[in-house]
């Protein structure tokens, strides 16, 4: 049986710093992915859905703040804990990053022991994060996050995301796949069986098209034939 390990995205333009961070994290049993700039980080984030992001601020051509703004724009709050690791130590820089919702601001030079404490705290915090609703309140929450369709059939598709959807809950998916079928606003429901872990904290969610018509079925079949 494989164990799903936590994954951290390191964003820094200095390969020597990335190398030492990778070593520290791997020694903690954490998987690591890296990016040397903001655009590469956004791509990596969408591809891997890491549990934690560690980023520098002073990078070129875009600063780490651009990444922070992007991450926050996904759902209005930071989708995962973010640790800023920067040589900047002035109050203005720290406040600016904190206002964007980061979890920690760590100044360089790096103190490995303190850094490990912060990693553990934030990885664990992410693991036990839960929404608790008071009795009688509506038990629902709206979230928006990236995902990818990995398989499709005439009645639905499999969507890999970093959350496990409740069975039979209504879902909205924006995807070129649905655009091609001209069913962007079609009612979608998660499957009757709870999704299994896919990899690295991602889940394989079954999504069903509710009440598929013959026409949609035909369009789906035709589209799938073009994939082969």
């Amino acid at each position: 049986m494989s164990v799903v390990r936590k994954e951290v995205l390191i964003v820094d333009d200095d390969p020597e710093l990335r190398a030492i961070l990778r070593r520290i994290l791997e020694n903690l049993g954490i998987n690591v992915c890296e990016a040397d700039g903001v655009q590469a980080a956004i791509e990596k984030y969408n591809e891997r859905s890491p549990h934690l992001v560690i980023t520098d601020l002073e990078m070129k051509p875009e600063s780490g703040y651009v990444l922070l703004v992007h991450l926050k724009s996904i759902s209005g709050v930071m989708p995962v804990p973010v640790i800023v690791l920067s040589a900047k130590d002035d109050q203005k820089s720290i406040q600016q990053a904190m206002n964007l919702g980061i979890s920690e601001f760590v100044t360089k030079p790096l103190n490995a022991a303190k850094f490990i404490q912060k990693i553990r705290k934030n990885i664990r915090g992410e693991e036990i994060a839960r929404h608790t609703f008071p009795a009688g309140s509506p038990c629902s929450v709206n979230v928006s996050l990236p995902g990818r369709i990995v398989a499709a059939s005439e009645i639905g598709f499999r969507l890999v995301t970093s959350i496990r959807l409740e069975c039979q809950s209504m879902v909205t998916v924006k995807s070129p796949f649905l655009d091609q079928l001209s069913i962007q606003d079609y009612p979608l429901k998660s499957g009757p069986v709870l999704a299994k872990a896919f990899e690295h904290g991602q889940y394989n969610n079954e999504i069903r098209l509710a009440g598929v018509t013959r026409e949609i079925s035909n369009r789906t079949r035709k589209l799938m034939m073009t994939w082969k």
């Binding site: 030492i20 520290i24 002073e58 040589a87 360089k108 030079p109």
Partner: protein, 105 residues
């Protein structure tokens, strides 16, 4: 006359294998810094200082980070005399250190 007395730097075994490549990079920094001093290239000097400040201590070389801080500040203030002294200190430091595995506590 040189005493050839090595300064022992203990580095965690977890990162010991990363250290030779890191120090090789710093030897190249000395060449780059020497050339930057000749051409009054404060941007390059400041950039190297900034990186030393941020990374060297993580590899077990806090003294190099301190030199990095001084280099970055001197480049910002265009103080070439201070830069020259710091580069000499850095060169001497790199020549005199011997890296050994950290002893278990």
């Amino acid at each position: 006359m040189s005493q050839n007395k090595k300064r022992i730097i203990e580095v965690s075994e977890d990162i010991l294998d990363l250290v030779p490549a890191y120090l090789e990079g710093r030897a190249k920094d000395i060449i780059t810094l020497t050339s930057a001093i000749q051409s009054n290239d404060f941007a390059t000097i400041g950039g190297i200082g900034h990186k030393l400040k941020g990374v060297a201590a993580s590899y077990g070389f806090p003294d190099l980070s301190t030199i990095g801080i001084a280099l970055e500040m001197a480049a910002e203030n265009r103080k070439m005399d201070i830069i020259s002294i710091q580069v000499k200190l850095m060169k001497a430091y790199l020549e005199e250190i011997e890296v050994v595995p950290e002893k278990a506590a």
